[in-house]
Amino acid sequence: MEKEEQDRNMHILRTGVLSPVKRWSAKWSLWPCHFVTSCCGVELAHAFASGFDGERLGTLNMGISRQANFIIVEGTITRKMARALRIVWEQMPDPKFVNVIGACGQRGGIFWNSYNITRPSEIVPVDFFIPGCPVTPESLLRGVRAVQDKIALGKDETTIKFKKVALPSEVGPGSTIPTSPKRFAPTPLVKVDIPREVDWAFGSTTVNNLKSQLEGLYKSITITDKNRIAIKTAPDNLMEVARKLSDNMGIDHTKSVNVIDVPHEQKFILEYMASSYSNSDLMPVIITLFTDIERKAEPEFPSITPLWDSADYSEREMHDFFGVKYEGNAGMNAKFLLAPETQTPLRKDFKIAEENYVFDDSPLNPKIDLPSSLEMPAPTDLYDEAEASDEFIILVGPHHTGSGHLRWILRVKGDIIVDVTPDPGYVHRSMEKIAENRLYIQNVPLFERANISDPFNMNLGYVHAIEKALSIEVPERAKYIRTMLAELSRIGAFFYDSGIFSLFTGHSTGFMYVWAIREMILEATVRMTGSRCTPSFIIPGGVRRDISKDVLEMTGNFTSAVNKRLKKFEDIFINNPVFIARTKGVGVVTKQEAIKYGLVGPFLRASGVDYDIRKVEPYEVYDQLNWEVTTGDAGDCLGRYMGRYEEIKQSLSLLKQTVDALKRMPRGDVISEEVLGDYKEASEDIKGHLYHAYGNLVLPKGEWTSVVESARGTLLYSIISDGDSNVPHRVRIVTPCWMNLRGIVEASKGERVADFWTIYGSFGYFPPEADR
């Protein structure tokens, strides 16, 4: 059927007296429908921004499906998004064309065994597939050229030709096929509170303090690592303990909600990771409150949201993943992240496909069940309810110029927003599940894909958790390199968000200007690592290889070269009175609200909370560099943006400082010899020894939690290892955007409809990062 559909489009162009005119015009007027489905959208934006300017080819990005004739499917199509893709495609007038970019949209890429992805080629007819993860702008434009050639010349061909060479035929001894490198412990010992001896005086006083306060309520209180305390309680006491922590110690928000499945013991471990924004002594401390409950189909547990509202969305997420019903949470009667028909996928008995290391006759494209219905369910009861109260429902997204890849349900009365309901999960690619089935080193590129606009910080957080577990000290030079990369990535992410923000306020020039600056950042990244957006450069113990002097020179130059272009951006966008009128006093989040909803990062600081992980719990070389945390009082869109802008100026200075330090330092070790073991000669460049050194990495048993300050805020990784398997038992990632989602919702209430996009833009929301 799909072949027919595809042929129909070409048939329209090939027939009729005016066929040459039709083909000529269609060739030069391929308007891609702005269908950002996943992280390849970042590179799509680069392809159409000043760096490559796809408009040269006559391809003008158009937000509206009715007027476009070309879809560039950008990466993953999840089960939820599949419907949107089909609907958008059907909305488009004939003749129309489809390109799929990125490995996710082909055979799944790194998410090939995810439970939540589909194959676009089974949903719509596809003309060309472009490999890459993400694709480069050049390859995207190559795809456009290929479609153009197909239309004009009827040349429907792959643009690469391989030459076949006969393989050596001298028959050797032959061998059997080795088994999988993965090793799963059959009955893993899953414990969250493995005590560890650490030099942490404040810890023991805190524990004593906790013991006296929680007398009779706890089962055990353990120091699991520096700044990490685990409190075990009985299920009935957890709420009471939390209340005590909140009242007596100022523990005011949760950083993570977690469930760990232990099938052979027939239990779930329920975890809340809580910390404090108001008590500066306890800021770096993460208290893990956990309890065991019985593992059954739908276990019930009282929700903690009355006390800590910040746990709300994470509890809903756990409900999706494990079927744990948090009583008292409003979202328990529907799926939040997942498509409605999905089972509880993070339970251990939900299996995903295993790797096949041998090229055999197994089908290249194993069947993926499509969602049963491609209809998009409209919330009909919501319509009725709204109509009764004289309100109007606007559905924004998942395909909308100003939505990104999630759906917002706006309830408006006149021009005032009454309520916003987010419907995330359109890019949920099940990283947490996949991570349980991969080697530790294979998860480095995986987690980076959560946010390719801020890849180094994504890397860094995960690697930190591993290093914490193994107690590895990273060489000095690697620390500086990592700091440099993290700041470069922070600057890149800020410019990414500025671009999106300026688009959301209708300012395309602002977008183009910062995207040109981003092009410089990516140039530096590609020279350092070989990849534009997905470097996977930071590995446990250090970085993959040292960085050469001329690239360092270039990166240092960037810090001053950016000023010229930044000045223009400032004049035309940041100081533009219209922009200021749009953002000042809009979407205010007060300090109390920010703490209550558990906002993170620059958006928390904009509301006046002085909390930056880089200062609170310094990592790498942040404590040796000269910089300041930026905060603000306004808590409005402009405050959030300007706070970040100021922070980026600090980041530029940090970048300069680290580059200068690196230039002074002699070239040397960049990977810790502890982790390399027998291969310690490779400490300058891992080339040739990556698998030897990391293939069989096993973490000591326990839970290892790391937090880093990524571009958009606190990024938390929590790895649970059983000490025996060389794959993690569970990895919990809490990304800043996921925590900030609530902020967008709360800030929008009571504002005008058009303000929704300024608020959305000011929060720098990156859906793939939130959905993971």
Partner: protein, 369 residues
Amino acid sequence: MQEVINELLETMMSNQVSVPVIQPVIDMAAQIPMMGLGISFILWTPIFALLICPGLSTLGIFLLFFPWIERKLCARIQWRVGPREIVPWLGGLIQLLADTLRFLFQEVIVHKDAHRPYFLQFAFLSFAAALLPLLFINAGDVIAIASPYGIQLLLALVCLFPLFILGLGWASNSRFAFIGSVREAFMYFAYEIPFIIAVLAMVILFGTSNPILIPDKWGIILNPIAAFTFFVGAAMATSRMPFEIPEADQEVAAGPHVEYSGIAFGLIYVMCYEKAYILSTLMVVLFLGGGSGPDIPGLTVHLGDLMGIVWFLLKVIIVMTTMFVLRTIYPRYRLDQGLTIGWGAMIAISLVALAWSIVFVFMQQGGVL
């Protein structure tokens, strides 16, 4: 029969567009019986104005090439290149031709919720209606209908545009189209009054509302406040940044146009350029001295009426470009901010402009100026 033709010919000959440099050619062609009639018909001022300039042909060329100018210039400001590969050596000049033809051959979808007859009608009607004001505008000395109420008629017709946009939105029967139409309606009331007052100020200042009789003075110097009000009002009327509120792409997905495809969208797409063209011509007539321009020795004599047209079009291009380049400079205002500006600052400024004109006229009559 012959008499009727002769009489007609006489009427036409009495009011011909004079272009001295091609006069010999015309004279030669006039020898050929039917050809002569044809040529004098086309050169008959009202028909020339309607068909050639400032009417259909000029408009057509504008629609075909102006978006290219806009896209190229915006791209340049945005550190890009803009359309190019279609004909690299001309800088992609015919990009819009490809786009137009593509729309022409693309399927027109009428979705099932739409009001089918109106959905299609309004797309074509709005395009046609936008042409009407061209009857009352003059390029230099060339005008289709010279009426003492020319400016008023023109304004009345210009005020028709929003009605059609409302119609588009209503017939689309989509949520975004609905919000877009409501926004358009709001904005319509906000800009209309100051816009009309600004024109009124100029009519008072010139003492006539017949465009052809408006002296070749630069209104922008005589009453800069009115010029500013008019320009901002025109930007609002054509939904230019920072007032691109009804069609905000990121907010209401192009508002009233959201459901249109194929040639129906093509017509709506060019309609906004049409609107901009008409308002720019009005701006040129009222504020930039119409078709007047410095004497270029050797050229003015030969070109005759055409010289006025050339000056006129040059000015129109400048005004339109300025209007469109705004998109690269400004983000967009919110609806309520747009309304506040329209009902507040704009009305105040327009009243000042009106007062300015009245004082100016009094002073002129009193012999002070």
